[in-house]
């Protein structure tokens, strides 16, 4: 029995380009004689535990290229973080399936799982290399300049605010858009790319890295309304007060016992009701951008898609070389270049596992804005945005 099969899984919330990473791995191995079967675990580690595997070379290259463009996790995903006992069982399953390399595409939780598996495999002297391929729309992984999946989600947020700014200019009032990001404000901050004019929204940007006070919020909205007669607000679903208590009054919990923030309009509705009561405003509307931010079909950043493919490819090439016991892949931005450039680098799993990375202080401006440096940093990851333009305002009188 030979141990040269490769097993791949996807975990956590999907992104618009997570299948590019999958195809990045698979395409590299597709014609390789160094590996045996190229296997996909359905629903991540759940599929490994159950032995629910599919042959990834059963899908032809042409179809694969379409799969790569498809949002969502083509293998199915899982939110479950395996226990140490389950990790032991996963290692046994890998042996039973003749797996030499295990590639796990996911966020920091998946990196932690990969690290645990890797350490247990080493202790047990199993011949198994474990690779983590990063993805997350939250952009909260360490070391890497940014995460695959983030650029496309940021593009969605920017396009939403570009259009909403025009909608708000048309009819006035206050518009609140709630953006994903439980602990990190990277995605909410992306709304700044819609600010094309001095008086354009988002006028206020609230991220979890800064304490949120309802009073200050109402005062800041009031000031914008007094200045320009309307206001567009970007607020992260994860905003909390100075004591760290979430602003949303909800009792719904997800399967990790975390407060359910996405898939509900509650925070937006609550903030809108507060503003109406506090400021006596007539037209206050709230939208929660929701799952569309990570799944909307046809709103992909080209740079993000290419990089997502490349991080997968880098992990597969490293596995083929067979010198390392595993690792993760980071995107390093080349400094001092006129045009944006980034390269993939292999890094230790320990450097990316567990701990997340907040939106950095250097990118924050006061309590309710981000800096121009942030917009400049983000812009190449999102790509050219749709045209929006205003009429020249030349008043006419008879």
């Amino acid at each position: 029995m030979t141990f040269n099969n490769v097993l791949i899984g996807q975990a956590g919330g999907p992104t618009a380009v997570i299948n590019q990473s999958l195809w990045g791995v698979v395409s590299t191995l597709y014609d390789s004689k160094k590996v045996g079967a190229v296997l996909g675990a359905r629903q991540g580690v759940a599929g490994v535990l159950k032995g629910d595997l599919i042959d990834l070379r059963a899908t032809g290259r042409r179809r694969w290229k379409s799969v790569a463009q498809t949002p969502g996790a083509a293998l199915g995903s899982v939110r479950h973080k395996p226990t140490e006992e389950e990790c032991a069982r996963i290692l046994e399953q890998c042996t039973a399936f003749g797996v030499r390399h295990f590639v796990y595409i996911g966020g920091n939780d998946s990196a932690e799982t990969a690290m645990l598996l890797s350490s247990m495999a080493r202790t047990a002297k199993r011949e198994l290399s474990i690779w983590h391929v990063p993805k997350t729309i939250d952009n909260d992984l360490r070391v890497t300049d940014h995460c695959p999946g983030y650029g496309s989600a940021a593009r969605f947020v920017a396009c939403a605010f570009l259009g909403d700014e025009e909608d708000n200019r048309s009819l006035g009032g206050v518009k609140i858009n709630v953006v994903m990001g439980r602990d990190a404000g990277w995605l909410t901050a992306a709304s700044v790319l819609a600010r094309r004019h001095e008086d354009a929204g988002p006028h206020l940007i609230y991220v979890p890295e800064r304490p949120f006070s309802l009073e200050a919020f109402a005062n800041e909205v009031d000031a914008v309304v007094k200045r320009i007669g309307r206001c567009v607000v970007a607020v992260s679903e994860g905003v909390r007060d100075a004591a760290g208590k979430p602003i949303v009054n909800s009792s719904e919990r997800d399967s990790h016992g975390n407060l359910q923030l996405s898939g509900s309009g509650q925070l937006g509705d609550q903030l809108a009701a507060y503003l109406k009561a506090k400021l006596g405003l007539k037209r206050v509307r709230a939208d929660t951008l929701g799952y569309l931010q990570r799944s909307f079909a046809g709103c992909v950043s080209k740079v993000d898609a290419a990089e997502a493919f490349e991080v997968g490819r880098t992990a597969a090439k490293a596995a083929l070389k067979g010198k390392l016991e595993g690792g993760s892949v980071a995107l390093l931005r080349r400094e001092g270049k006129k045009r944006y450039e980034a390269e993939c680098a292999l890094i230790d799993l320990a450097r990316v596992a567990k701990v997340t990375r907040p939106l950095e202080a250097q990118f924050l401006a006061g309590n309710s804005d981000v800096t121009p440096e942030f917009a400049a940093w983000l812009s190449p990851l999102v790509g050219d945005l749709p045209v929006t333009e205003r009429l020249l305002h030349k008043s006419w009188t008879r």
Copy 2:
């Protein structure tokens, strides 16, 4: 004093292509020597009443082409339907501004305003022609095959469901998406374009044209979950029970005294909470697609953009000819053609004013679906949709 100026206004909820219609009107008159000033009323009739007008030829052609591609109403919009007294004042203002033609871009309410203005002008023997240019994402105008603005909003809804189907397949559970449409289900029905596989969502489509029962809803979701282990639901914001009572428990009213349906996540949250309690399901999520449906930048149907331009152009050309006292424009689909074709026709204002058009019974399938004929009717209006593809499922065992 000559009466050859043209005055244009935009009204109601903006669309992604309402500025194409505006440019359709303006571009036709831009170099014409038959008309005097080409004026835009800011915030529709509100601007006419206040004399808040801008010179639309102050904006150059190149900038205009960018404005045409911009979502939202470039002139500003208004929800106010003028009273008879206000209409009399509008006519006086038109005389004061030397206006010979008034073009109003809007839905059925705007057509009604145009009809009233037209009839009052005729009675008073004023030399004034009144034109209505149709727009609405609700697609609820009569006579016309479909409304400019609908195709792009339908495209957004289809792309949202295409991606959400993949997201739901990745992680399972029940996903509810609330779609705009207070009285008509046209936009909610557009979700059907995402159904590319026999087991693909949206699995259930609820429109206001059919009575909505919470019990039946829970039973139908339960049946889908039992069959395929997950469920994607499209539900119109305007669904109501057999007695005509809205399902959403809300006391928020808009400026017309109508129940506020958009700009709130309440209906989705309520339906999700109901399903969780009734069916004991763990993962139920709801998104309310919200204002993005009409404003998202970069999700425009090419056919819709071209037709929106053309209806504006048709009204302007009719005004230039000067034979008629006004009217509206309808899109007529040429029957029996292999490829989709439509032409613009002038129609009486009375045929489009006031009364709206529900999603037709021939397009409805039972209580919670639409027919394949509807998808075939809609498809050319939306254009080619983004690729989504699945892996071939070939199980692997050692």
